[in-house]
Every structure is written in C-alpha cells, then in structure tokens.
C-alpha cells in the first residue's frame, strides 16, 4: 500500500512539451529543467487531483512497460527532486496548482 500523494505544478512555472521532452522554467529563479519522456508524463498529469499511484498506473505502466513497484519508486524520487526545486507541490490532500486553460 503506497501513501496517498497528490502532486501539482507550482503556480509560477512556465512549461512546454517539445517532442518527447517537457521544458520547465521555474517561477522563482528561471532555472530551466528538461524532463525526459517518463518525467514529462508525470508532469503533465500533475493536476493536484490525481494521486501519484494513479498517475503511475494510468500513464507510466501502459506506455513504458515497467512494473508498478519500480515505476512508483522512480516516480516518487522524481517528485521529491522537483519538489526540492520548488516547481512541484506535494500534499496528502488534493491541491490547487498552476491554472489550466
């Protein structure tokens, strides 16, 4: 049983998908991040309403042929790293992130 984690893109970020990568510009200091295909899937799904487990099940496992345990651990590590950078919000409750079109 995995802990319930909700993730949302931080409100100040700017981002764009370019081919199989996602380019993210931090809101605080304009640091630039280039996310690979798996990380990009998690990023795009980070709406604050979907749990990390659901994201892994729905978007990572089908597309990347990986076992849940491994995929989840990798995703959790990625989420921690982006949260440390201040571009991803993490909570045990649903949360609001960047506004959507």
């Amino acid at each position: 049983m995995k802990p319930i984690i909700y993730i949302a893109r931080a409100p100040g970020v700017a981002w764009r998908r370019l081919e199989d990568e996602v380019i993210v510009l931090s809101g605080s200091d304009s640091s630039l991040f280039i996310l690979n295909a798996v990380a990009g899937e998690i990023w795009e799904a980070a709406d604050g309403k979907t749990t990390l487990s659901d994201i892994v099940v729905r978007r990572i496992i089908p597309g990347f042929e990986v076992e849940f345990e491994q995929a989840y651990e990798d995703a959790a590590e990625f989420v921690r790293a982006l949260a440390d950078e201040g571009i991803l919000l993490v909570s045990s409750q649903p949360l609001d992130g960047a506004p959507e079109p």
Binding site: P11, G12, V13, A14, W15, R16, R17, L18, E19, E21, I23, L25, G27, S30, S31, L32, F33, I34, L35, N36, A39, F78, A81, L82, E85, A98, P99, E100, P101
Partner: protein
C-alpha cells in the same frame, strides 16, 4: 533533469520552434519618446479573440517565452485578460511598460499572474531629463512609483536605459537608482532608425568615443541590444541571428516579422495562420538559408567574434547581407578597433 539552455536552443532550431515571441498588443501610447522606433501607423488591432487564437497557435507550436509589449500595453483594456490567457497556456511572460499607468491593483495582478519580469524604461535619474525624452511631465515619478509597487509585490523588474543625445550619456545615476529600487539594470547604446525607414532618430546616438567610455564602465552582461533581451537564444556559430529561427515579432495588426527591428514582412495572421506563415513563408525560408559565410563584408571582419551584428539593422540600413554601421560602432566601442566599414 536540469539541463543547459543550449540543448533547448539546438532542439528549437532543429524542430523549427518559435521559442521566443515578441507580441506588441498595441502601438498606441500616451508618451512621445523622441527616439521611439515605431512609426505613427494606426490600424485595427488584433481583437481579443484573434489574440487568443494566436496564443493557442503559438503554444501548439512550442513557443515558451512571450514578450507582451507596445506602445503602452496598459492602454488595452483587455491586457490582463490576454496575460491571464497566456499564463493559462503556460507561457513564460515578460512585459514591457512605461510604468506611467501602473497602479497598485495592476502591480498586484502582475504578481498574481507570475510574470517573469516587467521592463520599465528610465532614461535618466534626473526627472526633468527623463520627462523631456518621453514628452510627458511627471512620467519619471510615475515610472519610479510603478517600480516601487512592483517590487513591493515581489515582481522582478528590469530598468532599461537607452543612452542618447538630449538625454543621459552616462549610466551611473540610473544604475544607482536601479540598485536602490531592487531592480535589474540593462543599458542600450544604440538608437535605431524608425521601422518605416525614417532615420532621424539615428542622430540621437551618442558619439562612438562616449559609447566606448560607457561600455568600459559596465559589465558585459548589463549591455544588450534593444529588442534581443538579455539572452541570446541560439548557439549562433553559423546562423546570422536567432530571428526567424527561434524567435519572431508580431505587430498589433497581425503582421509577422523575424524580429521587431527586422523589416522583412512574412505575412499576416488575419490572412494565414501563424503556423502557415512560420512554416511556409517564402521570405522566411530564404532568410533561414543565410549563413555567416554569406555576409558580404562581415564574414571577413576580424571583429566578428565580438560583434553582435543585427541583420535587421543591416536591412534597415539597406542591405540584409551587408554590415550594420550601428553595430560596427558597437564593435568599435567594445574593442577600440575600427571595423572596415567605419574606416570608409
């Protein structure tokens, strides 16, 4: 995960992504700056819905950096609506304004929408000199007030100063003012011709020896050309400029150009979608084939490595592939060595 900009830029060139877009949402302005490069043309500005479609088109093509400028952007009653849409589409938005209309509510809204930076022009630390250049009494006090409000709301601000005859020819005072206000500072040493070819503004350029002295007083990173921003968006060893490769300019009337100071008309978004113009414009395709080796004079210039040759200025001076004397002046200011065109 974290990566350098060059990878992104290389990818943008390879994929043909207009990564950086300069959109003037109006040319209307209540200031009458003596060096303004915009012609007096008026016309039917793109409507709110036309701008919305354009932004969606740009986002779909991969544009990330968006400069909203003018004219005075705050003269458009739907400015914040446009800005909010741009942010919902995940653009990194930069705004240029005179600051003269920017009240507390506007500063707060800019902060809420997480603009990356607001650029405000200050031409002198002496109010009477600044006001003489803008043609509006009290404009200095209003601009400084706006900067204070923006900073109090946590918005990053950059003061842009153009040194010119009739204005300040020394940057020290405005640099100090920027430091006091907690703003970044950027100095422009080149006054360009008007976009309609009127060269009367060029006479406002300060003498080359004064430029050289001004150059010596500043860190290189605080110097920029007027429209290129502080970062060059391309590893340009072969390409003459990022304009038209990863960047472009769109006028308030929907006309598309490679850059704001590059008068090579590519099309109008009211007649063809931006995507079609960007991908299919014959003029743009011809320009994209130009390499540094094609430049008639500059390819052999020994100052090439320190020159920020602008093809738009060269075009405004009459020859897209020729030298721009204004940039030759800058190369001289940087090095004290005289490029061939200045020796003539």
């Amino acid at each position: 995960m974290r990566d350098c900009r060059e990878n992104l830029l290389g990818k943008a060139v390879r994929l043909g992504v207009p990564l950086k877009v300069h959109l003037d949402i109006t040319w209307r302005c209540h200031l009458r700056c003596i060096h303004c490069y915009l012609p007096q043309r008026q016309g039917e500005e793109l409507s709110n819905s036309e701008i919305a479609s354009l932004l969606e088109n740009l986002a779909g093509l991969g544009s990330l950096f968006l400069l909203l400028s003018g004219g005075e952007v705050l003269l458009r009653s739907d400015f914040f609506e446009i800005l909010a849409l741009a942010r919902r589409l995940h653009f990194a938005v930069f705004v240029k304004t005179s600051g003269t209309m920017l009240n507390e509510a506007a500063a707060r809204r800019l902060a809420e929408l997480h603009v990356k930076r607001v650029d405000v022009s200050i031409y002198s630390e002496r109010p009477e000199v600044h006001d003489r250049i803008t043609g509006l009494e009290g404009s200095f006090a209003r601009a400084v007030g706006a900067i204070r409000r923006l900073r109090a709301n946590g918005v990053k601000v950059r003061i842009n100063q153009s040194l010119m005859q009739s204005g300040a020819i020394d940057s020290t005072g405005v640099r100090q003012l920027a430091a006091e206000l907690g703003a970044d500072y950027c100095c422009n040493l080149t006054i360009i011709p008007r976009l309609n070819g009127d060269r009367s503004t060029v006479a406002l350029n300060i003498p080359r020896n004064v430029k050289r002295a001004a150059m010596g007083a500043m860190e290189p990173t605080r110097l920029t050309e007027p429209s290129c921003g502080s970062e060059k968006l391309l590893p340009l060893e072969e390409l003459a400029c990022s304009a038209g490769h990863t960047g472009c300019y769109i006028s308030p009337f929907g006309d598309v150009y490679p850059c704001v100071q590059f008068p090579l008309w590519l099309g109008n978004v009211r007649e063809r979608s931006f995507e079609k113009i960007w991908r299919e414009s014959p003029a743009l395709q011809r320009w994209r084939k130009v390499r540094n080796a094609d430049l008639t004079v500059c390819r052999a210039c020994e100052l090439q490595s320190v020159c920020s040759r602008c093809p738009g200025l060269a075009c405004l001076e009459g020859d897209l592939l020729g030298p721009s004397r204004l940039d030759c002046e800058m190369a001289y200011a940087r090095t004290g060595r005289r490029p061939a065109p200045l020796a003539e």
